[in-house]
């Protein structure tokens, strides 16, 4: 389907189903239960899942395929956000031109940074990209204040021109981003007994774009271009002596992944029309590296999983405080309850980074291929089990293995 083989089509369909039913999948607990705080199915967080999924998928095209580790990808995220907000200020509140401009501008930006940074490889490349991103961050924070809003960030105002739209709504408010009249913040609640599911227009727009971005990534991975990028990672010397110029290949990969980052930035601003310099900071660049490695660099689905994993921790674990913990351990005798709370305390709330760090270490040490490798191992375990079994199950397993 769509020019993909069977496995890739299956993968695309899985992502499509996950995106479509995310409001259900992420809200498994009834609202009144104590576990409701583990529900992640609210629009704001779901949007973040898919937006960072796009960011990580794009990053993986560079890092996963060519092995060039960029430590400055957040700069493109920031450029994307600023361009989108400027579109909202000057043109109209429609998200389409905003997103287009963010992709375009971040692509140009990536071309310039990539052209210079790709003169070096390995750690020097990483440092160059980091330097560029930090420079962009510092400039956005100070010198470029008229363009970026400096410390306060870039926000919409009542007196913005918006030549194709309106400066103010009839009620005297700033209009909100919309897709041809469909407001991005528009939501519809479905209440089923004790469960509440929210369907949000902005989320579904992001999810659609994620699907398109994911599809593009599959095509790139399976194309001759993608094969050349893997060849760059494998042996540049042989590339050169095979008559191939590695530089345009790496530069193209850099620009494409920069455009993915710009797309993510543009979407971020479309969901919430403001942009700040902190989006370009090195911590944001580091985060996408973590997402990709945690999920599985060089795999298709890995970065999306990694992005979801990290964003879930950031938003859910960070909200657990001592009161919640006391609630959990209330069944224990007083002394033991306090002891348990003291033990768990450093790992939740503000300490969520500690939990994430430990999990990251465990994954890198025991599953170097990331979460995807974990999934594959579990899959193999089940397959082995049904080979050992007897009767129709074993026959089915044999046929399946023969088909592969």
């Amino acid at each position: 389907m769509f020019g993909l083989d069977k496995t890739d089509t299956k993968l695309l369909l899985i992502v499509a189903v996950l995106c479509l039913f995310a409001p259900f999948i992420l809200n498994p607990f009834p609202t009144s239960s104590g576990l409701a705080q583990f529900n992640a199915g609210y629009p704001d967080l779901m949007q973040r899942f898919v937006i960072f999924g796009i960011f990580a998928v794009g990053f993986n095209i560079l890092f996963g395929l060519t092995g060039y580790l960029s430590f400055g990808h957040a700069a493109f995220l920031g450029v994307g956000s600023y361009s989108a907000v400027w579109m909202f200020k000057l043109l109209s509140m429609n998200v389409i031109p905003a997103i287009l401009l963010s992709v375009l501008l971040s692509g140009v930006f990536a071309l310039i940074i990539g052209y210079v940074s790709l003169r070096r490889s390995g750690i020097y490349f990483s440092i160059l990209t980091l330097a560029f991103a930090q420079m962009s961050f510092a400039l956005a924070y100070s010198v470029f204040t008229p363009i970026t809003g400096g410390e306060t960030g870039l926000q919409l105002a009542l007196d913005d021109p918006r030549i194709l739209g309106i400066s103010q709504t009839a009620g005297g408010n700033i209009p909100v981003p919309a897709l041809f009249g469909l407001e991005m913040r528009a939501s519809w609640d479905l209440v089923l007994g004790d469960w509440q599911f929210t369907f949000n227009a902005g989320y579904y727009l992001c999810a659609l774009i994620l699907l398109a971005a994911f599809y593009m990534a599959i095509r790139i991975f399976r194309s001759p271009f993608g094969m050349m990028l893997r060849a760059v990672k494998s042996n540049q010397q042989r590339m050169n002596y095979t008559g191939l110029n590695t530089k345009p290949y790496t530069l193209a990969a850099f620009v494409i992944s920069g455009m993915y980052a710009g797309l993510a930035g543009g979407l971020m601003a479309s969901m919430d029309p403001l942009a700040g310099a902190e989006r370009m900071q090195w911590t944001a660049s580091g985060e996408v590296v973590l997402m990709t490695i945690l999920g599985g660099a060089g795999t298709l689905i890995g970065p999306v999983l990694g992005a979801g994993f990290i964003k879930y921790f950031e938003n859910i674990f960070s909200k657990l405080n001592d009161n919640v913990l006391h609630g959990w351990f209330a069944f224990m005798p007083d002394g033991l309850e306090n002891l348990m709370v003291t033990i768990v305390h450093p790992f939740v709330g503000k300490g969520w980074h500690l939990t994430l760090g430990i999990l990251f270490m465990l994954v890198v040490i025991f599953l170097p291929g990331g979460l995807v490798e974990g999934g594959q191992r579990v899959g193999r375990l089940f397959r082995r089990r049904d080979i050992k079994s007897t009767g129709p199950e074993a026959e089915a397993a044999q046929q399946r293995n023969a088909a592969e």
Partner: protein, 251 residues
């Protein structure tokens, strides 16, 4: 005039004159060996031919065109392929993919942004690659990780990758270095077969006299960066100067 003309090439590294006044003419469709003791400048000369080093003096002409100042990929696109001392292949890729990359390079040139079609939809490239693998007896290993192959198979694959581009000149840098006797003999047979079946010029740098004398039509002996003699294998074997400089102890 030969297909490869090296004229008065000199190269100096600091105080060391690695090459001086090297003149060499490789005739089309011949096999020309360059031998010499360690430090004779064989590798430096080779690096000057394929764009890795630029000589201080002299000129290198391939088919009448200068190769000096061109990058390795441009020189490869001109028709010179190089086989390395340790096989340089794409270890992380499958054998079939390894085989397809040079064919893509030949078809599409040094860069092609072909990012939206499937690799396996390129029937012409796939067929050529399969054909080449079958010819080289590597067809049963096509889905193997290239890095997992034996040294001898890696060498076969590398040579196959070079040949798939139909180069006019094949440069081999000690192709049997570090190989077991059986693998060395296989490689010699393979190279003989290539020489007989194809219109190709081979220039080979080698340490192993057995390899050189069974393949070469002409031999140039380098010593201390200068060509000592150039002649046919039979004459080289008995040449007193060569015995003195190179074969001295072993012959």
């Amino acid at each position: 005039m030969g297909i490869l003309e090296v004229k008065d090439v000199g190269k100096r590294f600091g105080g060391l004159q690695a090459l001086g006044d090297v003149n060499l003419s490789v005739q089309e469709n011949s096999c020309h060996a360059i031998i010499g003791p360690n430090g004779a400048g064989k590798s430096t000369l080779l690096n000057c031919l394929i764009g890795k080093l630029i000589p201080d003096t002299g000129s290198v002409l391939f088919d009448g065109q200068s190769v000096l100042g061109r990058t390795p990929y441009e020189i490869c696109q001109m028709g010179i392929s190089r086989v390395f001392q340790t096989p340089e292949i794409f270890g992380d890729l499958s054998v079939l993919e390894n085989m397809m990359i040079p064919i893509f390079a030949k078809r599409d040139g040094a860069f092609e942004l072909n990012a939206f079609s499937s690799v396996f939809a390129q029937r012409d490239v796939l067929e050529q690659a399969e054909h080449m693998l079958a010819e080289m007896n590597l067809a049963d290993k096509r889905h193997m990780h290239a890095a997992a192959m034996s040294r001898g198979d890696k060498r076969r694959l590398e040579i196959a990758m070079c040949l798939s581009q139909n180069p006019r000149l094949l440069l081999l840098d000690e192709p049997t270095a570090g190989m077991a006797r059986a693998d060395t003999n296989n490689t010699i047979d393979l190279l003989k077969q290539i020489k007989d079946e194809r219109d190709i010029t081979i220039a080979i740098i080698e340490h192993d006299m057995h390899v050189v004398f069974s393949l070469a039509d002409r031999i140039t002996v380098l010593a201390q960066g200068r060509p000592l003699v150039e002649d046919t294998p039979d004459k080289i074997k008995g040449h007193p100067k060569v015995r003195e400089a190179y074969l001295g102890e072993s012959a």
